[in-house]
C-alpha cells in the first residue's frame, strides 16, 4: 500500500489501484456526511481533484494519487458516507483506478514514511 501527502492511500492489484483516505484523514475531517464520487470512465492525472468528502463542517477535496481511468466507485458510500469514518482503509474505499503509468507509484510514500508525516 502507498500513501500521498494529501492523505489518500492506494492499494494495488495488478494495474488496478483501490483508493481511499487514511485513518488520520477521517479523524481530521470528523463525521463525513456526504460524498461526491467521480464518474466511471473519467480519465484523470495524478493530483487531479476527483472526489469530495464533506463533514458537518467543511468540504475536503480528494486527489488522484496517480493518473489513469476510474473503473469503479464505491456507490455504497452515497447512502452510508459514515463508512469512511468507520472503516477508512477497507469498506470506506472511494474508487478504483486503472493506472496509466505504474512508475508514478514510485513518487508515493510507503507506510512508515507516511506515518512519520502525520506524527
Amino acid at each position: 500500500m502507498k500513501y500521498t501527502e494529501s492523505h489518500e492511500w492506494i492499494d494495488l492489484e495488478d494495474n488496478i489501484g483501490t483508493v481511499g483516505v487514511t485513518d488520520y484523514a477521517q479523524k481530521e475531517l470528523g463525521d463525513i456526511v456526504y460524498v461526491e464520487l467521480p464518474e466511471v470512465g473519467t480519465e484523470v492525472n495524478a493530483g487531479d481533484e476527483v472526489a469530495v468528502l464533506e463533514s458537518t463542517k467543511a468540504a475536503a477535496d480528494i486527489y488522484a494519487p496517480v493518473g489513469g481511468t476510474i473503473v469503479e466507485v464505491n456507490k455504497a458510500l452515497n447512502d452510508k458516507p459514515e463508512e469512511i469514518n468507520q472503516s477508512p482503509m477497507e469498506d470506506g474505499w472511494l474508487f478504483k483506478i486503472e493506472i496509466q503509468k505504474m512508475e508514478e507509484l514510485d513518487q508515493l510514500m510507503n507506510e512508515s514514511e507516511y506515518l512519520e508525516t502525520v506524527q
Partner: protein, 358 residues
C-alpha cells in the same frame, strides 16, 4: 487565548481549533454523536469565550432600551431578552442577551468575536447616561442543554426546577454567586451558567460526573453550530453583520420599530421605506450535496443572493441552509444553489428546521 477549562478539554481528547482568537474544542467524540446527545439527553458546553458585562446605575434600563432593537424597558426582573444592537447606520453591531436583575442592574452576554467592539460601543453610547460599566471577561460560562438538563441541574440547584425559558436566578455554589439562566443556543432547552471561573471549572467537573446517569457528553463548537442552525438561529458574521440590516435577517422579530427610540431606528425606518429589502430564509436541499456559506443562490438565470450558513442536519439527515436573497421568497418556493458548479434545487421552508416534540 484559552478558557480556564482548556486543560480539561485536552484531557477529554477534544480536537482544539481557533475561534475568534480562542483555542476551543470543536469536537470531542464527534459532531453527530454530540449533536444527538443534546437532542436526546444532555450536553455541556464551555462557552467562556463569550463575554459578560455588568451595567449598573439609575439609568441602566434607559441605556439598555436605547441600545437594543428589542424592548427592554418594563421587562420583569430576572428576565432575559434576546436582541440586536445597531449602530447609527442601522447595521448590526452584535446580537446578544440582555439580563435584567432590576431597573438599575443589568448584564449582557456578548459574542466572543465582538467582545472589544461591543464594550467600546457600549461605553461610547453610555457617555450620556448615569451608569457604570464593568466587564467580567475573566468569568466562566457553561451551557447545559438538552431534555435531561433540568433533572440534572435540579440535583445541585433546587431553583432549577422553576427557572423557565428566558428567565434566570441567582444561586450559590461553593461560596460563589452563580447565575442560572434558562437560555441557550440549541432549541433543546436547558441552562446557561455564569460565574467566577473557579466556580465554573468546579461545576464542569460536577456536571460531567453527576450527569453520567443522564447520558451527559461534552459538546464542541461543531455541534453547537449544527444545533443552532437546525433552529434557524443567527450566528454573527453569517446571518448578522455590519452589512446586514436586522430587519432583513432571521432576527427581524427583535426589531420593535414602534419603540419610542433606539440607536439605529431612524436609519432602519428610512431603509424600510425604500423597499430595497433583502430577506433571510431557510431552505432544504432537494438534490444531492451540501450548501456552504458563500455559495450563490439563483432564481432561474438570475443570481438573487448567497448562502449564509449550511450543513447536513444531524437530526433530520437532510441538507439545510440559510440564505440571504433580494426580495421576498414564499414558503414552498423553489430556488437553486450553485454547489461547485452544479445547480441543486432547494425549497423554502418555515424556521426552525427542527422542532422539539411536544
Amino acid at each position: 487565548m484559552r478558557t480556564g477549562l482548556y486543560d480539561r478539554h485536552v484531557a477529554l481528547g477534544a480536537k482544539m481549533v481557533d475561534f475568534a482568537g480562542w483555542e476551543m474544542p470543536v469536537q470531542y467524540s464527534g459532531v453527530i454523536q454530540e449533536h444527538i446527545a443534546v437532542r436526546e439527553n444532555v450536553g455541556i458546553f464551555d462557552v467562556s469565550h463569550m463575554g459578560r458585562v455588568l451595567i449598573k446605575g439609575p439609568e441602566a434600563e434607559k441605556l439598555m432600551d436605547y441600545l437594543s432593537t428589542n424592548r427592554i424597558a418594563g421587562k420583569k426582573d430576572f428576565s432575559a431578552t434576546y436582541t440586536v444592537w445597531c449602530d447609527q447606520s442601522g447595521g448590526c453591531v452584535d446580537d446578544l442577551i440582555v439580563y435584567k436583575e432590576g431597573e438599575d442592574r443589568f448584564f449582557i452576554i456578548v459574542n466572543a468575536g465582538n467582545r472589544d467592539k461591543d464594550l467600546n460601543h457600549l461605553k461610547k453610547v453610555a457617555e450620556g447616561f448615569d451608569v457604570t460599566i464593568e466587564e467580567r471577561y475573566q468569568d466562566g460560562i457553561l451551557a447545559v442543554q438538552g431534555p435531561n438538563a433540568r433533572p440534572l441541574m435540579t440535583r445541585l440547584f433546587p431553583e432549577a426546577e422553576n427557572v423557565r425559558p428566558m428567565r434566570f436566578a441567582s444561586v450559590e455554589f461553593e461560596g460563589h454567586q452563580v447565575i442560572l439562566s434558562g437560555t441557550g443556543y440549541t432549541g433543546s432547552g436547558g441552562f446557561e451558567l455564569y460565574g467566577p471561573m473557579e466556580a465554573i471549572i468546579s461545576l464542569w467537573g460536577w456536571a460531567l460526573e453527576e450527569g453520567k446517569a443522564f447520558g451527559i457528553q461534552p459538546i464542541g463548537l461543531g455541534a453547537r453550530d449544527t444545533l443552532r442552525l437546525e433552529m434557524g438561529f443567527p450566528l454573527y458574521g453569517h446571518e448578522l453583520s455590519d452589512d446586514i440590516f436586522p430587519t432583513e435577517s432571521v432576527a427581524s422579530w427583535t426589531v420593535k420599530l414602534d419603540k419610542e427610540d433606539f440607536l439605529g431606528k431612524e436609519a432602519l425606518e428610512k431603509f424600510e421605506s425604500q423597499g430595497k429589502k433583502r430577506q433571510e430564509s431557510g431552505v432544504v436541499l432537494k438534490g444531492r450535496g451540501i450548501a456552504r456559506e458563500g455559495y450563490r443562490v439563483f432564481k432561474g438565470e438570475r443570481q438573487i443572493g448567497e448562502v449564509t450558513s449550511g450543513t447536513m442536519s444531524p437530526s433530520l439527515k437532510q441538507a439545510i441552509a440559510m440564505i440571504l436573497v433580494d426580495g421576498k421568497l414564499e414558503q414552498g418556493e423553489n430556488i437553486e444553489i450553485d454547489i461547485r458548479g452544479k445547480r441543486v434545487q432547494a425549497e423554502v421552508v418555515p424556521l426552525p428546521f427542527w422542532r422539539k416534540e411536544p
